[in-house]
């Protein structure tokens, strides 16, 4: 069993990520200061998605891809929805 510094653990958050088209969620640990878009890309790749501009939604709120997770109100234990940000046409 490894013991990591408390400070290191406080810099990360663990979230549950859902995808609208799948029944199974996945758990991710991100640096809390990671940009939303970067974290969403990691999650998208893990789910097997490529291309597009993924982001997270927390409930009804769509998170800004350019901002940090913590700045967008993401907290340890949150449930997020992974969505694509393509616009209407």
């Amino acid at each position: 069993m490894s013991i990591e510094p408390v400070e290191a653990r406080h810099n990360t958050i663990t979230v549950t990520v859902f995808v609208p088209g799948e029944t199974e969620s996945r758990t991710f640990e991100f640096e809390k200061h990671s940009r939303v878009g970067e974290a969403a890309r990691v999650a998208a790749t893990a789910f097997g998605f490529s291309g597009g501009d993924p982001t997270f939604a927390k409930g009804k709120d769509v998170l800004d891809r350019q901002k940090q997770l913590v700045a967008e109100g993401v907290r340890d234990g949150d449930a997020l929805e992974l969505i694509d940000t393509g616009g209407g046409v």
Partner: protein, 173 residues
């Protein structure tokens, strides 16, 4: 004319429904479906025309020939489930969750303008002759909305509901 065996469409819809139902539950939404009729209904809400009011809508999806061609998405009367045209649609303020709203009006026709709606294609009366045939609905177009399963389509439409401002005025005849 393309014709997918009905059984194949039922199977395709049934395979995607569990995730769509789970998505709806996470968002506190009511999703009703009839696989034999290849149809689903999702009750949605959006801001009303007046401050602090809420408007109710009913989204209908039909899945004939799914997944060879895109489904058909439109809003119907929330009470009767009948097609009533523009009155059933929300009025978009022009922008949606990710740029231009999916809800548009073209001349007298209102529609959900997305690659995953067959009604958006010129071959089905829509505005997009540039998208080719409805069989190309799974092609990703950079910058444009992209959803290739029922749950993702529902989520994409749901996201734009927050930007609506009440029901669209009836279309003059």
């Amino acid at each position: 004319m393309l014709a997918v065996p009905r059984r194949a469409s039922v199977q395709a819809m049934a395979a995607e429904l569990p995730a769509a139902i789970a998505w709806a539950r996470r968002h506190g939404l009511t999703l009703d479906h009839d696989e034999d009729a290849l149809t689903l209904w999702l009750a949605l809400t959006g801001p009303g025309a007046e401050p602090d009011t809420v408007e109710g809508y009913l989204l209908r999806g039909r899945f004939d020939d799914y997944r060879a061609i895109a489904p058909e998405w439109l809003f119907v009367d929330p009470e009767t489930r009948k097609e009533i045209g523009a009155d059933a649609f929300p009025a978009p303020p022009g922008v949606g969750a990710f740029g231009a709203s999916l809800f548009i009006q073209n001349n007298s026709r209102v529609l959900i303008c997305a690659h995953f709606n067959r009604l958006a294609y010129a071959s089905h009366g829509g505005v997009h002759g540039d998208w080719g045939e409805t069989t190309s609905w799974l092609t990703r177009r950079p910058g444009q909305t992209y959803a290739t399963n029922i749950g993702s389509m529902l989520d994409r439409i749901y996201r734009d509901m927050a930007y609506t401002r009440g029901r669209r005025a009836p279309v003059a005849t």
